[in-house]
Point group: C2
Chain length 272, copies 2
Amino acid sequence: MLRRKFIQSSAMILPATGLLSFTQKYSHYKNTPLDIGIAGYTFVHYSLDDSIAIMKRLNIRYLSVKDFHLPLDSSPAQVKEILDKYKAGGIEVYTVGVIYMKTEAEVDRAFDYAKRVGVNMIVGVPTYDLLNYTEKKVRAYDIKMAIHNHGPEDKLYPGPDDIYNRINKMDKRMGICLDIGHALRAGSDLVRSVKDFAPRIFDLHIKDVSAAQADAKSIEAGRGAIEFKPFVDALRSIGYTGKCSIEYEKDMKDLVPGLAESIGYFRGIMAC
Amino acid sequence: MLRRKFIQSSAMILPATGLLSFTQKYSHYKNTPLDIGIAGYTFVHYSLDDSIAIMKRLNIRYLSVKDFHLPLDSSPAQVKEILDKYKAGGIEVYTVGVIYMKTEAEVDRAFDYAKRVGVNMIVGVPTYDLLNYTEKKVRAYDIKMAIHNHGPEDKLYPGPDDIYNRINKMDKRMGICLDIGHALRAGSDLVRSVKDFAPRIFDLHIKDVSAAQADAKSIEAGRGAIEFKPFVDALRSIGYTGKCSIEYEKDMKDLVPGLAESIGYFRGIMAC
């Protein structure tokens, strides 16, 4: 089944001759200072190679890699092999995650992994009792921790305020990966969140949801309840310099049309 | 080959259960008064059924139908059968074309066809010597003629000015289908064209091109040389009430990713 999907997606995303060089040659997004990336979970049903081909086709250069494509226990040699594949595709792995941590050993593993991968940030979810230990590791490794909010069902961090209130007195390298879809479902005001938590917003998961309510569903960007223009204006107002990683969670076994539409929509918003 | 493509595209666009009703239920484009359609030539390598499935997947409601999906010599019964297919897909055929006319008989055929299809506009290219005859038919049928510009290679109408200068003294139902990609390649100023030719702009072919030069290539909207925001602002400034039909002419045998990205981009621009 998945195999079939891979074949379909491969067939679908295999570009016409010279497409990539052509695309890269002419690619320039006017008035678009923000880098677009992809949150790796988007590719949960795709092979590593297919995910790279899709990112190339959609002209995406940055990836928050998920462990199913770069396992947590990868040896330095295995890390290099996989990073080389991404590099060959013109893709930079700028962070890792989302990594869930329930024990100090899992925190240790996450930081050792991030160091092996060579990134300066982890998108993660440490339990409350691990926050102080996580802060120690952030200082020891000089690797930032961007804690991810996962909406109303999330017992720990439904919205960005639930993160901010626990880390705002901590080391400045403790911050937030703001997932705007989950935040809206959790009742957050996205513009307010960007402005209030500005110095702690390290990463973004960009998506749309069908409504501003807890049980809303993922949907193509622009078809849902999120007001993208005020959100992007707010990012510009705080001088956000991180990535904007699209996370597409609808039709995840056949995601290219909706992912492409969502990326196009966000690029359109950023061009205004 | 094409058959294989159809199968792939079908496999690719077959939605997850309930997708369409879900999409339609939640679809609403904020600050977007302009209707997005598709210029039928986009689907030159796709079957009628696949083109409908793609439009449903991308939430497109309006089509400028091309003769390879609705033949010019279709009987009333054949027209009804095909229009019923589009209606079942939630798609309204709002115009026909592009139809090239080199003889009075071809003009007669185009107007009889448009009348059978039940549209109030033809996107067409009558030769200069047929313009007066075309105007007579416009009056006799009360069907508008939107003449299409096709860029520097077009011996008749490279840019919208080449159309406007020949029809601006004619019946008000003689107008322009402004193809912005071909117009840019022909050296037109898109904002100027929209404002100067406002009352005569009946339809639009929306696309991007790699550069503002004659030999530029088609490219995903937002990756090229067209400044979409000023163009859309100009459309709003003249109170444009026609459709904005995306015409995607890159990777035409595997067009969904680029078409979806282009539609998303244009929706993003319109949402600002």
